[in-house]
Symmetry: C2
Subunit: 343 residues, 2 copies
DNA sequence: AGAAGTTTCCAAAGCGCTTTGGATGATTGG
DNA sequence: CCAATCATCCAAAGCGCTTTGGAAACTTCT
């Protein structure tokens, strides 16, 4: 059942049927509902291919799969991706994946995606401090939105959370509780988000005149393993340097840190305080830890959805200014933070 | 630069140019190379939308994102997905993702994907024992290929590895080494692959007249955590039931099991033997364990690529019989297996 | 040399939608 | 009552490719 057949059936022109279905104003409500009913009745689905050809829009968003980029963090990426796909589908868009791997440079992948012109816009995630992709896509004239920020000043659409503010707040909470030796278990500092978090952490320490000790800062993969190993190492430091509190960049890391702390015979919330950033991933709940975790929380899924919304809005309103959003991050205090133990 | 412009430039018809570029035989080699050169020169890229409309093929494969399905196993899924995308792209296809989540039943997602007709074929992964998706897609007339098998007899294309044979072999190796108490740390037995592996394990035990003890069989998520916890539990059993060997369904689980064994003060390859199934994921190498792991190995990435090849072949040759492949699995003996300790 | 193939190329008809530029009545204002 | 304005609707022209059904030129065969 195609448009022509449907319009013949209704004794209307294709124009009118098309407009009725697409919500144009120049068709009477009566006709519109008649058309809608018939379309439903006969299970009419407009051909995506035909529409694409006619409009020049592909109805597809592209996303480059960052396999080399943050391999083991990808539970978080997966959540982000899933929500992007979900939202895109709700708005009538498809999401296609591209892959950067091996011999192919990431740049080549982007170039190819653009040239084949099968996507209307692209979603970038996990930006590096000076991410080359954004100038690349700008020069290729491909609309895109970045999840995260970079140090690059050329204008581009972004959605990011206030990582710096979040870790500033979290660190300050620990300082207010009397902690003076605070460890940071971070993600790879090549990524902008990790860099921002470290800045927030340092900001807070600086206001108290406390030096940030390299031995208490770790930036690596966002895995439980890494959290556990680093925490164990730090807890083995001489007591003068040993941290009384940990700040983690992910719940996975916090799980590892929790184990290290417990194994050291210490009690979370009493001997050692712990705050983690919580991306709100379904099966990794900060509140269901044995000692519920104090967190800086921000749903990465919500960000995925919003990023798609913003990108589609950009595609539909190409002349508006490029949107930029920064979300504040909530600090949720639970049982894993307490006053610093007195010596 | 479109086909018409290019053909005018070459003083040829669109027909000829199109055929030259698409490798049809009814165009002379001389003309063909002239056309190719001009196309390259002017950076001509055929419009995907136009081609789709003209051919009725979308040039796109669909893959449903199994978020609820095997959440934490998804390092493996990610590898599979990545290789599918890579191969599809090499063959000129796109891969679009759909999502099943929350209110939407998985069935609704498949129905919608089919109705919107934006994909030529679909890739299914991680099948359950009696997976309803395959009869669904058959009834909807959507070509698809299944990575894995099911107990369902209706004909469909599949690529699977010989999970049963692999675990039969692995278990037999342990038996030959004198082990009599062998633990199985498996994936969720709702999945067919896990079920098959357990069958292989039981087959081997049965040939030696050994009963499979429920306490030594665990089926759950494919995480390091699960591996560690289960191994620790089993190692704490009274010595009459305590396993002298472990069989794991993934390298991640084996990492956890390794930790539990080491923590128990035991030495892998001497006190306890360990075999894991290795999906050959880049950053998770069985050979770089402290004690290199004996494995049943089969690259899941290679399977992803092959699945895409097979599906595309099916699309191009719709009348051929549905392909079914079962790959044998290699047993690679390394240092983690040794003779059972004498009491 | 004429008939019968072969090669090589082409004109034109779609594929199913969107969108431009009217046309047709119905309604309103002076 | 006629002109001007609206509200509806339509015919037809693309969008850029593939593919059908020939036509023309060139070989080969007898």
């Amino acid at each position: 059942m195609n448009l022509r057949e449907l319009s013949e059936l209704l004794q209307l022109s294709q124009t009118t049927v098309s407009r009725a279905l697409n919500g144009f104003p120049e068709v009477s409500e009566e006709t519109r509902s008649r058309v809608r009913a018939a379309a439903d009745m006969h299970g009419y689905r407009p051909s995506a291919a035909a529409r694409r050809l006619a409009t020049g829009q592909s109805g597809t968003l592209g996303l480059v799969f960052p396999r080399e980029r943050n391999m083991l963090g990808d539970l978080i990426f997966t959540e982000f991706l899933g929500c992007c796909v979900e939202q895109a589908s709700d708005l009538g868009y498809d999401v296609t994946l591209a892959m950067a791997r091996g011999a192919q440079t990431e740049e080549a992948v982007y170039r190819r995606a653009v040239r084949s012109a099968r996507v209307d816009g692209m979603i970038l995630s996990s930006p590096l401090l000076e991410d080359p992709r954004i100038d690349l896509l700008r020069s290729l004239n491909m609309p895109f939105i970045l999840h995260g920020r970079t140090r690059i000043s050329s204008p581009h659409a972004t959605l990011d959370i206030d990582n710096r503010g979040a870790f500033l707040q979290a660190t300050r909470l620990l300082l207010d509780l009397g902690h003076r030796s605070i460890a940071l278990i971070n993600g790879d500092p090549a990524f902008n988000y990790a860099h921002d978090r470290e800045l927030g952490y340092r900001d807070a320490l600086a206001t108290m005149g406390i030096a940030a000790l390299p031995a208490l800062i770790s930036g690596n993969m966002m895995t439980e393993r890494h959290g556990e190993d680093e925490a164990a190492r730090m807890l083995a430091l001489p007591s003068s340097e040993r941290p009384t509190a940990f700040l983690c960049s992910s719940i996975a890391q916090a799980m590892g840190v929790t184990r290290a702390i417990t194994r050291a015979g210490l009690v979370i919330g009493r001997d050692i305080s712990l705050i983690a950033h919580d991306d709100r991933i379904a099966d990794l709940r900060a509140e269901s830890f044995d000692t519920p975790l104090t967190t800086t929380q921000s749903s990465i899924g919500a960000a995925g959805k919003r990023v798609v919304e913003m990108l589609i809005h950009m595609l539909r309103h190409p002349n508006e200014a490029l949107p930029q959003e920064v979300w504040p991050v909530d600090l949720v205090v639970r049982a894993s933070t307490g006053p610093a133990p007195t010596v």
